[in-house]
Amino acid sequence: MVRLNSVSAVGVRERRVDGAGSHFGAHVPPPLSTALNVLLAEFASLPGAASIAALEGAQLLLERMLCTGGPWRDGCSPSGACRFVATADGMLAVNLPRHSDWELLAAWLEADADGTWSWPRLNQAVRERATQSLVERARLLGLAVAATRNALEGCGHSGICSLSMAHPSIVVDGDPLGDCRNLKPKPGPPLVLDLSALWAGPLCGHLLWLCGGRVIKVESTERPDGARFGNADFHALLNQGKRSVALDFGAPGDLALLRGLVEKADIVIESSRPRALRQLGIKAEEWVRRRAGRTWISITGYGRDGVGADRIAFGDDAGVAAGLADLMRAATGTYQFAGDAIADPLTGVEAARAAWLSWLGGGSRLISLSLAGVAGSMLARQIDESGSDALIGSARRWWRAARLGRATEGLERRAPSAPVSDSGADTVAVLQELNGPC
């Protein structure tokens, strides 16, 4: 019998063993926690990244659930916004976190404009329709919709089926990350400009802050990071210690200040569709070449090129696109989400590892990470590591625990160690510091 006060010690000791944790009260690791632990260990072994060693994969994967204490519901993402919806020939994950997403449903499903939408009405409207055209129409409308992989296997639709399973971080411009050898600590910390929002990008910035990076979070005054209005504890964890700059991206003066900040940065993190910053005149490809040593981290749903570049994703639907709902079906008999927005924490860690490695290795890289690509690659790594039977078994154990309200049992919630700035609290100070006195 495991004593209650030894629960967290057991959790830590067993963290590298995915099948463990069947003792009463011990933590049952969620899917891909082993692969994430391996990734964290790789990251922590880099010069200057020792603080990463204190992190645990399961804890990062379920960090938002640890903060919200939200319950597990079968067939529904822990956020409540993403659900499985059956089509005539397959299964979709439909993620509708924004009020405006619901306004687009009539257009997506070519339905009469009248009447309000609900999940039952959505189920009804999708039931008779073909998967592939629904995914395509959702892409055009900017809705986060993904098909389970079985439904699309062999459909020949490039950008949907052909996820990169091998390389989680793709260097679009610059030398391969594998060329970074004989790394030494750098004399000073990098200046990191975090233009991202929600989870994956802010987690990347947070991990770079843990490594000593000087991180500035930049938000649009018109469209601040939506996570500010979500769970405050979770937002505090990911954004602690970052100074906050808020600018009106629509005003020419502020846009010039934004461009000036971008020019000063050693590492830029952004999680927008490639066209968004291009429309503001900020071009990643040119930025990387303008001064040696720079690293640009681009986080997208499905990559920067082709039809994928226009397609949005959030962590839950991207995980489904990567095949994780199929894993859960193999484990449980029904389509389930393999965690909470699983592609977000996976991508955040991989992005930070790639950014830190690139910075140590001299920079000059544009690195593209897609939520779906990273999740798919981590799934492939975990299968490689433990075999698919063990993975399916551990996914089943975690799902059973989650259904009993024990998804996060035995995991400790991290506490922030630095304050969080209100949006724009440091705008004047940061601009003065980086541009000199006005």
């Binding site: 956020s79 900017g142 979500g230 927005a341």
Partner: protein, 101 residues
Amino acid sequence: MTALKPGLRLKSGVCTAEVMIVKGAGEASLTCGGVPMLGLDESVDGAQAVAAEMNGCQVGKRYVNDDQSLEVLCIKPGEGSLAAGGAPLAVKQAKKLPSSD
């Protein structure tokens, strides 16, 4: 005149623009570059754009009429400006980010 229905896709007769109806009922005369927009399977010869209505439309932006009874989403960018019944459509404010995903 076009019978409006959510989800209907229309293309410009004078540029590369394409839109999808997000909201709207009844009929409207939608134009791009001053020339009526076409169904995806339609074509038109020799349409002359109105120079004053070639200020462009941006992909991903939602455009609305004055009383917001009509809303279209630009799904392919082009040089023409969008209008309904002769009145230009205006860009609707960007979607707010969700508080969680």
